[in-house]
């Protein structure tokens, strides 16, 4: 039934493990926490996704003398990469979910709380409880915030009916999965795709592909439309080649040059209006535009674009000293907002922090990003880039990187699909295991 994620028994064990993890977390008193050795440098990391968790681990690996506190709201992290596979029935929620037990066991203090404020002058983070954590260096790895006010008729409340399914919380993706499962054959599924910069630019099209995979087998009279805020998108020729081969006539892509911009959404009437067209949908996934998580603005590290400019060697904010920003919240030149890039940035930021604490000059590095998108069960495509810092920005190394070839043989697409799932298992084991 599933191609990835191990056996059903493994999935059951994992669910049990996660339930135990939640139960343990719920019964453990939040205070007192393990104490950080007095006088030891203390790094606080806000956000326990790929960026924050990999940074925390790397700090512990590189230098046991640094105390690390990871502040994360959720007890369970739902990893976004490949989670669209749930919509195709190719992956399960359990495949995507991870607790923080492995990170705690690595000697990292994990505080399950919201970070509500940062005082860069006092070098302290305020938690939802009112408690404060002081830091020598702060790493903001808090990801994105959805701009719910950007589309007329959409809001956080409306998202309960028209899921964005764009955050590291499993509720939304499962809501979308249930809606697609429940819809009548012959209905229209609408996806709105945001302008860049945004988290994981290929993901709206991976989502369309995975829903099409489901519809073709289970609701073959149904259609899907992507109402895009952009006139072109990443790996466009590859996605469209795959759609023509796998789901002919099922997916319509509606860029602004054809139907105009998205004007409004009416959740009650189930319509999405662009400047020139109206779409009557049965199910809609509305992916709004984005900016850096709210805590970044509160810490004073986000600029007028809503994102966080950083030094490419240290990932230290260009706006506040002693605060580093990594992952999707950061503006790091050409580096994509991907989980792969976030984890690499976490490692590099950790080595820069260790160097800075030791009074040394951090070394720059080439960074790598490699992202897979699932298009069918045995069909994935990838986008690879090698980046190096040049004059304060990451730029792509010329002649390297790129995307999967057009007209690739089926065996190549199938191998990339196997690698996609294998990368996910490796990366999550390294980060959360």
């Amino acid at each position: 039934m599933r191609e990835a994620g191990g056996t059903a028994a493994n999935a059951k064990n994992r669910r049990q493990f996660l339930r135990n993890a939640v139960a343990a977390a719920a019964t453990a008193a939040p205070w007192p926490l393990p104490l950080i050795a007095q006088g030891a440098p203390h790094v606080v990391i806000i956000g326990g996704g790929f960026a924050g968790a990999s940074c925390a681990r790397a700090l512990r690996k590189d230098n046991a003398g640094v105390g690390v506190t990871l502040v994360e709201r959720q007890h369970i992290y739902t990893a976004p990469p490949l989670c669209n596979g749930i919509l195709g029935g190719l992956r399960t929620l359990a495949d995507q979910q991870f607790g923080y037990g492995g990170i705690r066991a690595a000697g990292i203090r994990v505080v399950n709380a919201a970070a509500t404020a940062v005082n860069p002058h006092a070098r302290s983070v305020t938690l939802g409880s009112g408690d404060k954590l002081s830091y020598d260096r702060l790493v903001i790895a808090a990801g994105i915030e959805l701009r719910f006010d950007a589309i007329a008729g959409y809001s956080e409340a409306v998202a309960e009916q028209l899921p964005h399914a764009w955050t590291s919380d499993g509720t939304q993706i499962m809501l979308l999965q249930r809606q697609i499962e429940a819809m009548e054959d012959g209905g229209l599924v609408a996806i709105t795709a945001p302008a860049n910069p945004a988290r994981c630019p290929p993901a709206p099209y991976e989502r369309a592909s995975m829903i099409a995979y489901f519809l073709k087998r289970r609701k073959p009279r149904s259609k899907l439309v992507i109402i895009d805020a952009k006139d072109q998108f990443t790996m466009q020729a590859l996605f469209q080649e795959a759609w023509n081969a796998l789901y002919p006539g099922l997916i319509e892509w509606a860029p602004p040059s054809k139907g105009g911009d998205i004007a409004s959404i009416d959740a009650a009437k189930k319509t999405i209006n662009t400047d020139f067209d109206t779409y009557n949908f049965a199910v809609a996934s509305v992916i709004p535009p984005q900016k850096a998580a709210a805590i970044a603005a509160r810490a004073g590290v986000a600029d007028r674009t809503g994102w966080c400019p950083v030094d490419p060697i240290t990932f230290e904010s260009l706006l506040q000293k002693n605060i580093h920003v990594i992952g999707d919240a950061a503006l790091a030149g050409a580096m994509p907002k991907s989980a792969f890039a976030a984890a690499v940035e976490g490692e590099l930021c950790a080595s820069a922090i260790v160097a800075l604490i030791a009074g040394k000059t951090p070394a720059g590095a080439k960074l790598l990003s490699n992202c897979y998108s699932l298009v069918g069960r045995d069909y994935a495509i990838s986008d690879t880039g090698v980046f190096r810092p040049v004059a304060g920005q990451y730029v792509e190394v010329a002649g390297a990187g790129g995307v999967s070839p057009l007209d690739g043989p089926p065996a190549l697409r199938a191998e990339e699909a196997r690698f996609a799932h294998a990368w996910f298992r490796t990366a999550t084991r390294e980060t959360f295991g």
Binding site: R60, G102, S351, A365, K366, L368, S369, N370, L412
Partner: protein, 87 residues
């Protein structure tokens, strides 16, 4: 199997050269997935030779051709030496 490995900071654990950070995304030193080749402990000359074959296209690949072209011979040598030292 989830194996937790805390790398000691003392003898034997060469610090991760920054250039390798991206490689470990797929080629983990410990507990990587079977579908992705394990590099730790392979000889440096073998890794260098394979990277060269990826660069020239002599060895067909999904993503490695695109990646290998982004690194200089010195960087590839450093990556290979680091993986060779991991066991």
């Amino acid at each position: 199997m989830c194996v937790l490995v805390v790398v000691p900071t003392g003898a034997g654990a060469a610090p991760l050269p920054p250039v390798v950070a991206g490689c470990c995304g797929c080629h983990a030193v410990h507990g990587g997935d079977r579908a992705l080749p394990l590099l730790a402990g392979r000889s440096a000359s073998q890794i260098v030779a394979e990277m060269k074959a990826f660069r020239t296209g002599a060895r067909p690949a999904t993503v490695m051709g695109r990646i290998a072209k982004g690194f200089t011979p010195d960087e590839i040598a450093a990556i290979a030496a680091w993986y060779a030292g991991q066991r």
